[in-house]
C-alpha cells in the first residue's frame, strides 16, 4: 500500500471540511485512478472535482502521472492570486 497525504485548498477545502486527509492507495496508481477512488469515497465532491488541479509533490500533474510512495497531493481550483 501507498499512504499519501491529500491537501485541500480554497473551495475544495471548504467543501471537504478539512485541510488534509491521509489515504491508502494501491501501489502504481495514476492521478486518474486516485480521482476515481476519491470520488467513490466522496461522491459529494464531484462538482468541485470538475475543474480541479492536482499537484503531486508540489508539481502540476496530469491524469497519467504516477503517484510516488508517500506523495503529498494538492487538490485545488484554478489559481486566483494577485
Amino acid at each position: 500500500m501507498n499512504r499519501v497525504k491529500l491537501l485541500f485548498f480554497a473551495a475544495l477545502r471548504e467543501r471537504m471540511g478539512t485541510r488534509t486527509l491521509d489515504l491508502d492507495l494501491p501501489a502504481g496508481l495514476t492521478v486518474h485512478g486516485l480521482k476515481a477512488r476519491f470520488l467513490d469515497e466522496y461522491p459529494e465532491m464531484s462538482e468541485s472535482m470538475k475543474s480541479v488541479l492536482i499537484a503531486v509533490n508540489r508539481e502540476y500533474a496530469s491524469d497519467e502521472t504516477l503517484i510516488p510512495l508517500n506523495a503529498e497531493i494538492g487538490l485545488f481550483p484554478p489559481v486566483s492570486g494577485g
Binding site: 488541479l53 484554478p78 489559481v79 486566483s80 494577485g82
Partner: protein, 155 residues
C-alpha cells in the same frame, strides 16, 4: 540568491508589503531602473457587473507557491537577460479595500531593457501558475474566485 549571484526575492507573507525594503534588496550598484507592479483590493468594481467588496480572503499552498514564484523568476531571466533583481511577493489573509496584496518588481541598468515587460510577465504568470486563491466577501456573502488557466504537467 540565484547561482548567477543576482538577487531574487520570493515570498508569501502575512504582514504588510514593504516596498522600500524589497526595492533595496533587488537594487545593485549597476541598477538604474525598477519596474514595479502592485495590485490592491478594489472596493468597488465597475467593469462587468458592478459590485462592492468588503474584503478579500487570500489563501496559499505556501511551499508550492514559493517554488512556483522561483520558477516565474527563472522564466523572466530566461526571456529578459538584462533584468538584474526580481521580487515576487504575495500577501495573504483578510485584506481590505486599498490594501496592496501583491508586488512584482524587476530591476535593470536602464528602463529600455524590457524591464516593464518583465514585470508584466511576472504578474500575468503568477496569476496562471502560483497556487494562491482569493475569496471575495461582500455584504451579500462570499465566493471563491477561480482562475481560468489549467497548467500542464510539470509547468
Amino acid at each position: 540568491m540565484q547561482s548567477s549571484g543576482l538577487p531574487t526575492v520570493f515570498a508569501v507573507i502575512e504582514d504588510e508589503i514593504d516596498l522600500n525594503a524589497l526595492l533595496a534588496r533587488i537594487t545593485l550598484v549597476s541598477t538604474g531602473a525598477a519596474a514595479i507592479f502592485t495590485g490592491m483590493v478594489r472596493g468597488e468594481t465597475k467593469r462587468g457587473e458592478e459590485r462592492q467588496t468588503e474584503y478579500l480572503e487570500y489563501e496559499a499552498y505556501i511551499p508550492m507557491a514559493e517554488e512556483k514564484m522561483r520558477q516565474v523568476a527563472d522564466e523572466i531571466r530566461a526571456q529578459w537577460s538584462a533584468v538584474e533583481g526580481i521580487a515576487i511577493v504575495q500577501r495573504i489573509g483578510m485584506l481590505y479595500p486599498k490594501t496592496p496584496t501583491v508586488l512584482i518588481a524587476c530591476t535593470a541598468a536602464h528602463r529600455d531593457t524590457g524591464v516593464f515587460e518583465a514585470a508584466r510577465y511576472g504578474i500575468d504568470r503568477l496569476k496562471e501558475i502560483v497556487p494562491i486563491w482569493k475569496k471575495e466577501v461582500s455584504p451579500d456573502g462570499g465566493f471563491w474566485i477561480e482562475g481560468e488557466y489549467a497548467p500542464k504537467a510539470g509547468e
